[in-house]
């Protein structure tokens, strides 16, 4: 039996120390993931705590048909999306990638809040990170998920499909669509090739 499986078994019996050991290798990754979703350290911290607590509570639903790592990514992704959904209800929804129907039936992409509208300003790296974060935060969950998991967390297509409980084909097409939305948004900016 693998060490991870043993730890899962012990955790299931309420052994919190075993659980701590089980999740240790994933802590930083899940925090990074939560940071990408939430956009700030405080919320990322809370969501990471929440994700591991939820994992502890619902560990018996982990059947071992995917790796524990994949499962914990899934739990964390859902925790973040749930929280974002809860918040979205309180603010005016604005989505980067949901076309806004115009009167004549055409679709245009919504003008999204641009942190730095002057194109000839060379953006520092940190600023760019914020800019990207801002763009990604305004995407629909299905696009946000693949961008974060692939381009920011470097998961493989197959891992992403497992985390999101979907097919590799779907990951492929969503990622292609999401990247192109972002590319168009970045296109024309001074720093962009």
């Amino acid at each position: 039996m693998l060490a991870e499986e043993i730890l899962v078994k012990q955790s299931l019996q309420g052994d919190t120390l075993a659980f701590e050991e089980l999740i240790l290798p994933y802590q930083n990754k899940i925090y990074a993931l939560a940071y990408r979703y939430m956009g700030n350290e405080e919320d990322a911290y809370d969501m990471t705590q929440e994700a591991f607590l939820k994992a502890f509570r619902s560990l018996r639903t982990f059947k071992g048909d995917s790796s524990f790592g994949t499962w914990i990514y899934r739990v964390a992704t859902n925790v973040c999306l749930d929280e974002l959904r809860r918040r979205k209800r309180r603010i005016i929804p604005l989505s980067l990638d949901e076309p806004l129907a115009t009167r004549d039936g055409d679709s245009v992409e919504k003008e999204i809040a641009d942190m730095n509208p002057t194109q000839d300003i060379i953006i520092e790296q940190e600023e760019f990170a914020q800019y990207i974060q801002n763009l990604v935060s305004q995407m629909k969950p299905e696009h946000k998920n693949v961008i974060i998991l692939r381009d920011m967390m470097q998961l493989s297509y197959e891992e992403i499909a497992n985390v999101l409980d979907t097919s590799v084909g779907t990951v492929k097409s969503r990622l292609s669509r999401a990247r192109n939305i972002l590319r168009k948004k970045l296109n024309g900016r001074e720093h962009f090739p």
């Binding site: 802590q27 925090y31 990322a44 809860r86 790296q125 940190e126 381009d151 590799v168 292609s176 990247r179």
Partner: protein, 348 residues
């Protein structure tokens, strides 16, 4: 292949997720199409930038915090964790409830009673309860609406209930509704305040001012001088509609012995409408909250026994909302609320 088809494939292509046949087609196309070459270059650059984004370090307190919460989790069979560490969402819910609680009094002077009832029912529909006491109490006070509403059965019935219960101060309805279980059995966390007659004092007043901005400053000074908490709000559109100029509402929370002093100081600011004093009796609402909390705790235990995750989630949510209500009432009765509406007068 056309550009359109190729463009679809560029994203998987750069991740080596295309098959050899597709690769041949893509590479042949790229050799002759500068547009698609440019697009691929951009996609690659973008992915590279996103890969290199700054990620903060996980704070060192993390493991310790988590250990604490995991241990709490183990012993929290009777105490759902949401009770102990309310999320931000919960605080906002509490704040919303607080505003809603008080709003009835002010809006009642503009809205027909029907609307108030509808408004209140909307808030409590999840629990299938009739309009509870605070609103009925307000209705009771606003005599002008009485004639219009004599034919509304449930209103009258509830007002009657209200009378019965408020006539016995200090005597909390120990058994509530049909289940007949004593309220005292609620887990320790939720019973720190013994239920009694709960009355919230709310004073509201209007001041006509030359400039709301300056007046806000002044009111804040008064609040601070009296150790009162304050919150500056834009007034509701309803108030705006009734005043030509701009207006602003400041809500203060002050200890009861400071109220007179604060109102005197406010009087020195300008034309002040006689302060209205309302007492909102929240006894029933409080009892209702206690009862709901108890019921929900029982249901949560049952759901935990049945491993019903979905049910548990919903119950915890409900529990949290009722706990928030209870907290709001606790806060309301602990302090007097003073609402100052500043109305800017338009100079001709």
């Amino acid at each position: 292949m056309k550009c359109e088809q190729i463009k679809e494939l560029l994203s998987p292509y750069m991740d080596q997720m295309t098959d050899p046949k597709e690769n041949n087609a893509i590479e042949a196309h790229l050799a002759s199409c500068p547009n698609c070459r440019e697009e691929l270059k951009q996609l690659k650059a973008m992915a590279e930038m996103m890969n290199g984004l700054y990620t903060p370090q996980l704070p060192e307190t993390f493991a310790q915090d988590l250990r604490q919460r995991l241990n709490d989790e183990k012993i929290s069979i009777l105490k759902p964790k949401d009770l102990k560490t309310p999320s931000k969402a919960g605080w906002i819910a509490a704040a919303v409830a607080l505003v809603a609680l008080g709003a009835g009094i002010f809006t009642s002077s503009y809205l027909p009673a029907d609307n108030i009832i509808a408004y209140h029912e909307k808030q409590t529909e999840a629990t299938d309860k009739k309009p509870s006491m605070s609103v009925n109490d307000i209705l009771n006070k606003i005599k002008i609406w009485d004639n219009d509403n004599q034919d509304k059965d449930d209103v009258n019935v509830d007002v009657a209930n209200n009378d019965n219960q408020t006539k016995a101060p200090g005597k909390e309805p120990a058994t509530s509704a049909s289940d007949g279980k004593p309220v005292e059995e609620i887990p320790a966390d939720t019973t720190e305040t013994s239920p009694a007659v709960k009355i919230a004092d709310i004073y509201s007043t209007q001041i006509k001012v030359d400039s709301t901005e300056q007046a806000v400053e002044k009111v804040i000074q008064i609040a601070e001088a009296n150790q009162a908490g304050y919150d500056v709000n834009a007034t509701s559109s309803m108030v705006q509609a009734f005043s030509a100029g701009s207006s602003q509402m400041i809500e203060m929370k002050a200890s009861a012995d400071k109220v007179d002093g604060i109102i005197k100081e406010l009087e020195s600011m300008g034309m002040i409408a006689a302060p209205m004093h309302e007492e909102t009796v929240l006894t029933d609402e409080y009892a209702e909250a206690l009862k709901q909390i108890q019921d929900l705790n029982e249901k949560i235990e049952a759901a935990k026994a049945n491993n019903d995750e979905e049910q548990l989630k919903q119950l915890n949510k409900d529990l949290f909302s009722w706990t928030s209500r209870k907290k709001v009432i606790d806060q309301e009765v602990g302090q007097a609320t003073i609402r100052v509406y500043l109305i800017e007068e338009i100079k001709p």
